[in-house]
Structure formats: structure tokens, C-alpha cells
């Protein structure tokens, strides 16, 4: 399912972690300038897609491309150069614990640019202001709540004005207010900076409020794709089960096992010894 206007494309991806096959011939593309949500059950490979885009893992087969550059074939220096135009927000923020909030956001600026201290200060304050945490600049990460830590991490991720933003489970473990704030930030940043955003989540409500497009993954392939309202109205049983949160359906409740009767019989046989 790759559209021509896509900036980011994954083509014919075969990926496995050791013996576990995650994707077999996966094809997915992300529209430029849009916010796309990737959803699916645990182990469906959502985070793996982010890792493939970021170049942290390489597919056994296939091509991960941004425009016409193949990310999975990049050498070390090229890969690091590519990463300067991308920002990633990790699930729990991943702030550097030995630096305070200000220094955390300043980190990419200090490492990648030769800007004078005054310019760095202005940029950091700007980014912190954008996420509403300018007042927390002197705090240490250990003193922040989960939601605040993630916002600081977001400020850090946009410090170099990336063209692509990746979010790994941005809503997981947040209270309703923080969830709303985070969703709002994802949307505002995307539109204000004119960038492409991809996030991975299983929070239907929060993501449907924010995303332009939703991709549903199951069993290693894209099972559904569309706008939030399209998915809500979908008749596909897999989509319905996920979107409505049904207990049983195409994704079975019981993990694969022997027939119940056979399992019990084995026990009684043993006891007859």
C-alpha cells in the first residue's frame, strides 16, 4: 500500500528477531506533512517499524527509503547524518539523568552545532516554551513526573528542527490531562513546523483525535488503513475487534494449545499409575 506522494516508504520488508518472524513482505508508506498513527496488538511490530525508519535495525530483505535514499543501506557516517533531520521521542523520555532539563534540551544543539552559548540559550528556552515547561529548566529528570519528562524529551527531540518526528507510545501511562497535552503537542508541532509525524500507540481515543491516518498492523502485515472515521465505520472484523476493544474475535482469546480434553486426560492417566 504505497502512495506516490509518500515521503517515507517501507517496501517488501522481511524482518525477524532471531527466530521470530515479525514482517513478511510488508509494504507501507507515510504521507509527507501528515500525522500517521501505527496501531496494533502487542508484538505486532509497531515499534519495529520505528526502529527500521530510524536505522536502528536492518531488514533481512526489503528497502526502507526516505525519498530516494535507502536508510537500511546507509553506512555509519551517512546514517548519522540522516539522523540529524529526524527526531524521536522514546516511551519514557530517555532523558539524560545526569543533566538538568535545560542541559538535556541543549544537548543536541551543543553536539551538532557550533552555536554560541547565547543562541543555544534562546533556542532551548523557545523549545521548552513550546512544550510549556520553560519554568522547569533547572530541574533534574528525577524530579519530573512522567508526563513532564516526556514533554522535555519532546522539546529535546525538536531542538534541531527535524523533518520527521517519531513517537514511541507517547500516551502510554499518562493521565488524561497529560495525554491530551501530548496529543495536542504532536498535532500542533506537526502543523506549525510542516513536518511528517509517525507515532505508535494503542490508545484509540487519543490517537484518533490527533491522527490524519491510521495504519492497523496485525500478524506482520497492514490489515487496515484509513482516516480515523473510516476505521470507526469499518465492517472488517479485525478492525472492529481492535477499535471497539472486543475480547474475542479474529485475534483469539486462547493462545494456541492442545484440546482441553486431551490435556485433562493426560493428567488422569498419570494419576492412574
Amino acid at each position: 500500500m504505497i502512495k506516490k506522494t509518500d515521503l517515507l516508504q517501507l517496501s517488501s520488508i522481511n524482518f525477524a528477531y532471531g527466530q521470530t518472524q515479525i514482517f513478511a513482505d510488508l509494504n507501507v508508506g507515510f504521507e509527507a506533512g501528515k500525522v500517521t498513527a501505527i496501531m496494533g496488538g502487542s508484538g505486532s511490530g509497531k515499534t519495529t517499524i520505528l526502529k527500521l525508519i530510524g536505522g536502528q535495525v536492518s531488514p533481512q530483505q526489503g528497502r526502507v527509503a526516505w525519498g530516494d535514499r535507502a536508510i537500511n543501506q546507509m553506512k555509519h557516517n551517512e546514517l548519522y547524518s540522516y539522523r540529524k533531520s529526524l527526531g524521536m521521542l522514546f516511551q519514557f523520555g530517555a532523558l539524560f539523568t545526569d543533566l538538568n532539563v535545560f542541559e538535556n534540551v541543549a544537548f543536541p544543539l551543543r553536539e551538532q552545532t557550533a552555536l554560541p552559548e547565547s543562541a543555544i540559550k534562546d533556542l532551548v528556552l523557545m523549545k521548552l516554551h513550546a512544550v510549556g515547561l520553560r519554568g522547569a529548566q533547572k530541574l533534574m529528570p528525577a524530579e519530573l513526573s512522567g508526563g513532564m519528562a516526556r514533554r522535555v524529551a519532546l522539546a529535546r527531540a525538536i531542538a534541531l528542527d527535524p523533518s520527521l518526528m517519531l513517537y514511541d507510545e507517547p500516551f502510554t501511562g499518562l493521565d488524561p490531562i497529560s495525554t491530551a497535552i501530548t496529543g495536542n503537542l504532536i498535532r500542533t508541532l506537526n502543523d506549525a513546523l510542516g513536518i511528517t509525524s509517525v507515532f505508535v500507540t494503542h490508545d484509540i481515543k487519543a490517537s484518533f483525535k490527533v491522527a490524519d491516518e491510521v495504519i492497523l498492523l496485525s500478524r506482520g502485515t497492514v490489515t487496515a488503513r484509513g482516516t480515523p472515521s473510516e476505521l470507526l465505520d469499518s465492517r472488517d472484523p479485525l478492525v472492529r475487534q481492535f477499535v471497539q476493544g472486543e475480547v474475542d474475535g479474529p485475534v483469539p482469546f486462547h493462545v494456541h494449545s492442545e484440546a482441553y480434553r486431551d490435556d485433562l486426560k493426560l493428567e488422569s492417566e498419570e494419576r492412574n499409575w
Partner: protein, 264 residues
């Protein structure tokens, strides 16, 4: 028969694992060394790590060195008394420390204090995805985090070993000359007559440099390769201390045989 085959296959797989790990670790260390130019460009990072590994180990090194010297002096005196050669206690203390105990014991202490701290720090950074975050910000953690820690440990080690030996000699002096009453002149002159700079002191320094390289490599590798969970990090720290101890003792044997027995 099955028990024996099981034991054999366990030994076999353990050996293969060990060799494999050695290979992975060597590749990793090589990568770290090749990205070490940053340490020259930004000495601040190195200074911070020398503080972390070296300065914070000073207390345990100084105190342990002093105590080892005290014990050496005491034991040495008691034994030499029987042969009427108590004047040689200075030589005994100095040679024992400079050749063996200084480099080896300080390396073991370094592994337990600084090595474990390095492994824990890198391991926790891995567990909390800080290393991944750094990678995604286009900053290579090998250069930014690992290299300074390696060099910080490597450069601190010989200094710590020298301080340990010096403290030990002072300890030996304190117990034998000041407390017991061995002649101060005999203590120092006999020592100076028998401790050769090139043969004893320099070889001791070479040993501490080799041990420093070994312990620092093991510490950074175990941290970087740790399983990113709390349990994984704690197991990695244990492995650092144990592997470092074994490596130091094995290397000590090899170096001693090479340096001190004329097996040139």
C-alpha cells in the same frame, strides 16, 4: 552416558560462547578505540571520567595500600627476625609492592569500585534507552559515552597503582621503623640497593597499564552488552568484577613469567 555427554556439551557450548564473546568484545573495543579522537577534541569528557573512575577510587586505594603495607611490614619483620635480617624488611615491603601487590591489588580494587560503577552506568543508560536516544540524535554513544569512560579508567589505573605502592611503603615504614624500631637507615638504604628502577618499578608500571586496559575494556563492554533490564545490569556488574579479577590474575602470571624470571 547421558550425564557425561551433557557435561561435555555444556563445556563445549560454554567454550564456544566464551570465544564468541571474546570476538564480539574485541570488535566493540576496536570500534571504541577508533572513535576515541573525541577525547582529544573534548578533554572535558575525559577529565569527568577520570574523576569518576580515579578520584573517587582514591580513598579505597590509599587506605588499602596503607593497610597492605602495614601487614607486609609486620609479617615481614616477624619472619625476617628468625634469620636476623630485619634490616631487609624495607626491601621485602618495597619489592612485594612494586612488583606484584601494587599493580594486582589495586587492579582488583579498581575493578570492584570503578569497573562496576562504569558497567552499571552504561548498563542503566542502555536500559533507560538513553543510549538509543543519543543514537537517534546522531551522537554516537561509542564516542560520546564509552570512549571517555574507557580512557578515564585506563589512564587512572597506573596512577592508582603507584599511589597504592607508595602508601604501602609508607605503611611498612610506619610499622617497622616508627612502631617496632627497625633502623630507619637500614630500611631505606637496603631498599634502594635492591629495588631497580627498570627491572622492578618500570615493570610494575607496565603491569598496571596492561591491567588498566583489561579492566576498562571489560567494564565498558559488559555495560554496553548488558540485557536492558534491572536484573541484566546487576548480572553484568557481577560479570565485570569476576571477569576482571580472573583476567588480572592470569595476565599477572603471564607478565611475571615474562618479566621476572628471565624467560626472554
Amino acid at each position: 552416558m547421558t550425564l557425561i555427554t551433557r557435561i561435555l556439551s555444556k563445556i563445549g557450548s560454554a567454550t564456544v560462547d566464551a570465544v564468541w564473546t571474546l570476538g564480539t568484545a574485541s570488535v566493540f573495543i576496536f570500534r571504541v578505540l577508533s572513535r576515541s579522537a573525541i577525547v582529544l577534541r573534548r578533554p572535558r569528557l575525559l577529565v569527568a571520567e577520570m574523576h569518576f573512575a580515579g578520584v573517587l577510587s582514591l580513598v579505597i586505594i590509599i587506605v588499602s595500600g596503607l593497610f597492605v603495607g602495614l601487614v607486609l611490614g609486620l609479617q615481614g619483620y616477624e619472619t625476617l627476625k628468625r634469620y636476623g635480617s630485619t634490616g631487609a624488611v624495607g626491601t621485602l615491603v618495597a619489592l612485594s609492592l612494586v612488583r606484584e601487590l601494587g599493580p594486582v591489588v589495586s587492579a582488583l580494587l579498581f575493578a570492584s569500585r570503578a569497573g562496576s560503577a562504569i558497567t552499571a552506568e552504561i548498563g542503566i543508560m542502555k536500559t533507560t534507552e538513553q543510549l538509543s536516544a543519543m543514537e537517534m540524535m546522531a551522537v554516537d554513544p561509542h564516542a560520546r559515552v564509552v570512549a571517555p569512560m574507557f580512557w578515564g579508567g585506563f589512564l587512572s589505573m597506573p596512577l592508582l597503582a603507584a599511589i597504592f605502592s607508595a602508601m604501602g611503603i609508607i605503611g611498612g615504614y610506619l610499622i617497622t621503623v616508627v612502631v617496632i624500631g627497625v633502623d630507619s637507615g637500614a630500611f631505606w638504604s637496603q631498599m634502594q640497593a635492591s629495588v631497580d628502577f627498570h627491572h622492578d618499578i618500570l615493570n610494575g608500571v607496565i603491569k598496571s597499564i596492561v591491567f588498566g586496559a583489561a579492566v576498562s575494556s571489560i567494564a565498558v563492554y559488559e555495560g554496553y552488552a548488558s540485557v536492558p533490564t534491572a536484573e541484566g545490569v546487576s548480572r553484568a556488574v557481577t560479570r565485570t568484577v569476576v571477569t576482571s579479577a580472573l583476567a588480572v590474575l592470569a595476565l599477572d602470571f603471564v607478565l611475571t613469567a615474562f618479566m621476572f624470571t628471565g624467560v626472554h
